[in-house]
Amino acid sequence: MPAKGMLLSSSPHSFTPVSTPRIMLSVLIALVPASAYGVYLYGFSALALILVTMASAAAAEFVFRKLIKASTTVSDFSALVTGLLLALTLPPSTPLWMGALGAVFAIVVAKEFFGGLGANPFNPALIGRAFLLMSFPAAMTTWTLPQGLIVGPDAISSLSLAQGAVDTVTAVTPLGLVKSGKTLADVGTYLGTHSDGELLKQLFLGYHSGSLGESSILLITLGGLFLLGIGVIQWIIPVAVLASTFLFSWVLGMNPVFSLFTGGIAFGAFFMATDYATRPLTPKGQILFGIGIGLITAVIRKFGGFPEGVTYAILIMNIATPFLNKMRVKKYGFVPPVKPAKPSKEAAR
């Protein structure tokens, strides 16, 4: 007979090898192509912004949890994911201290105040970005031209862009141009392309001004497909977000393909709207969640004060998540409850 004590526990006694750190690590890996492209476009300062933001997020989580005497959770890598996600949504010229501040706000206020991993109602990275956007609107809407992309003075004058606001260093995003009333052809002129097809190709590849990591639709989709392939995210939300953005952009009279290829919608669809804690868990809820994000994005882009609306679209739909979680699938063997028979008129009398 065994002399030592046997482990007694309630079944199951077999466990998946998938763990939270492994999931978070795979998200970091999926973001490598988009991040690397951002560094390629904007150079060392972009890399510095990414690293400072990630380090600040991890440090904020570590220090805050020490202060409140909670267990250390930095090793689950979720703070690093938040930091990286935030950095990739910032303009490349964002000062490092601003990135750090955004990361601290995201982790402490949006995540830890609510109880940490899994308990936050709003996407922490997007809260960080929204916080910076409100606090420093100028810095957060100043865009840089990618290295090697030269916008000639001819293009600037022919588009009659305000002098000073745009020069060869400071740039406008394609969505910014459209917001200021320019056409797709004008965007093409600005980016130096010669046809709509060429323009869309350049937008898809990501060679234009924008947030650090959200310009290349190609690389973002690759990262998203990687996460889909290994089962870290599911297809419902990205497909619903993209399809709904396409549809509502078209309904509101915007070029639907252009809408998908610019701004943060692809990044949001694959990496922000799929955030575990803040998206609905039920398939039906996820479909409505995605549709809502597409709709709000299109409406903000068309009618809002900002050229881009993905951040707010996702945050607004985050509010709906607890409600959308009530839309459960019917359980196995569901039997509709029998309604009590209405008392007949005879009986009522």
């Binding site: 007979m1 065994p2 002399a3 004590g5 046997m6 482990l7 007694l8 526990s9 309630s10 079944s11 199951p12 006694h13 077999s14 466990f15 998946t16 998938v18 763990s19 939270t20 492994r22 999931i23 979720s78 109880g115 940490g116 991993l117 899994g118 308990a119 599911q234 575990y276 804690a277 868990l281 039920t282 979680n325 459960r328 699938v329 019917k330 359980k331 196995y332 063997g333 569901f334 039997v335």
Partner: protein, 460 residues
């Protein structure tokens, strides 16, 4: 053959390669058996023997009145030594009858005649006798569902609704276990016969032997047995159905859905969709009960696990302490590496403190896990990844159900489907945070049932 399955589920490591190629061994010499009095789902039994009584092999030693009762028989000839509470395979104490085998006759003494040692019933032809006679035989033979629940077979075989299909559950979706696989291979004829007997009793027009793809090598043997069976030659329709290898494919509801496409209604029984599902071991016990008049006094089980240096598929008398099977050399264990003992499979089996506990009617396997396999994880916070939502074969939204149960909101929990949980444990298996999901649901179900009972009493 089209491979069928259900939605959801998971793929725990199979680990069947350790014992799937090993022929079933029979334990011959048994010195002592510890027979739990209650081995079925239903009302408790009363022992029919006293300490000091001589019992024959196959003699009824415990029984009770009532529909939900199944008698228990002496697995060996011997003397009743004790009747006392002992630890059972569900890790709780219950009354057990301890029988010591008769010593071999002393020098010069004549051996006892077989009729003094064995007390079987006369054979009965299930295809010639009445349904009532057949059901009486199934009960008299002490047959229960041998897959785990121990539901009385004579109750299952007397459905109040017409049955369209009898399903032989050869899915064996629990990792490690291979006893059903070996039985399908070594006793294919009897499996087919068991299906035919069940079809005759419930008057079903079709029989399906369902096996997972990892046992595809058993299919030609089963098809040969079907073709050769006098029952199919007489017109009975029996076929083999391959199923995807996926846990919990062998769950009764999942099996029915995979094969018929129908869902057992919430709170209902398989008969509500015209099905009767029988475990392979149960079918073999039925064949023995009719052909030889032999009650359920022995069963096959797999002994395996990382600390089991010599795994085995064995047939042993009910009540045999598993330690005695190992002592007899049929299987071997590395005591140094042993970290956990499980009666049943790793997904639904019960962890127990030692392997002295006897084989019971529902013991399909005993796992001796090594210290690496015997894992214990601390529960971490739910990251709301949704893996349990997709894995739940009953579509119960475990993540949301757990929130309701933890909050004590049993009204909401019932609405989500707490009582529909089959406790397969897939949710806890797939959870990257090792949340105790099914464990909460098990406790929650009991609390909810108690609450409902109280409510019903108050309403009166």
């Amino acid at each position: 053959m089209a491979v069928k399955t259900f939605k959801g589920g998971a793929h725990p490591p199979e680990r069947k390669e350790r014992s799937s190629g090993l022929a079933i061994l029979r334990l011959r010499e048994v010195k002592l058996v510890v027979v739990p009095v209650n081995q079925h789902f239903g009302a408790p039994l009363q022992p029919l023997v006293k300490v000091g009584d001589n019992v024959k092999r196959g003699q009824k030693i415990a029984d009770a009145e009532g529909r939900m009762t199944v008698p228990v028989h002496a697995p060996i000839a011997g003397v009743v030594k004790k009747i006392e509470p002992r630890t059972q395979s569900n890790n709780s104490e219950g009354p057990c009858i301890v029988i010591e085998a008769l010593p071999p006759p002393a020098e010069g003494q004549p051996a006892l005649a077989p009729e003094e040692l064995v007390d079987f019933m006369p054979p009965l032809d299930p295809f010639a006798c009445s349904k009532e006679e057949a059901l009486a035989r199934v009960r008299a033979a002490g047959i229960v569902g041998m897959g785990g629940a121990g539901f009385p077979a004579h109750v299952k075989l007397a459905p109040s609704k017409p049955i369209a299909v009898v399903i032989a559950n050869g899915a064996e979706c629990e990792p490690f276990l291979t006893i059903d696989e070996r039985s399908l291979i070594e006793r294919a004829d009897d499996v087919v016969e068991g299906v035919a007997i069940t079809m005759k009793i419930v008057n079903a027009p079709e029989g399906v032997i369902a096996v997972e793809e990892n046992k595809v090598h058993a299919v030609p043997l089963l098809e040969k047995a079907i073709a050769a069976s006098p029952r199919t030659r007489a017109g009975m329709k029996i076929r083999v159905q391959l199923l995807k290898t996926k846990y919990p494919q062998g769950g009764e509801k999942m099996l029915i859905t995979a094969i018929t496409g129908k869902e057992v209604p919430s709170g209902g029984l398989p008969m509500d969709v015209g099905c009767v599902v029988q475990n392979i071991g149960t079918l073999l016990a039925m064949v023995d009960a009719f052909k030889e008049g032999k009650p359920l006094i022995e069963r096959g089980l797999t002994i395996s696990g990382g600390a089991c240096t010599k795994p085995a598929n064995v047939v042993a008398p009910i009540g045999t302490p598993v330690a005695d099977i190992i002592a007899a050399g049929l299987a071997q264990v590395d005591e140094e590496k042993l970290g956990m003992v499980i009666y049943g499979g790793p997904m639904m089996g019960v962890a127990v403190p030692n392997y002295q506990i006897p084989v019971q009617k529902n013991t399909s396997g005993v796992l001796l896990l090594d210290t690496v396999e015997a894992k214990h994880y601390d529960e971490e916070t739910c990251i709301r990844c949704g893996r349990c939502m997709r894995a739940c074969s009953c579509r119960l939204s475990p993540a949301l159900l757990a929130v309701a149960v933890e909050a004590g909101d049993y009204k909401e929990a019932e609405k989500i489907g707490l009582l529909d949980c089959i406790e397969c444990g897939t949710c806890s298996f797939v959870c990257p945070s090792h949340r105790h999901l099914v464990q909460r649901f098990r406790v929650g179900k009991q609390i909810l049932r108690a609450l409902k009972q109280k409510e019903a009493q108050n309403a009166r």
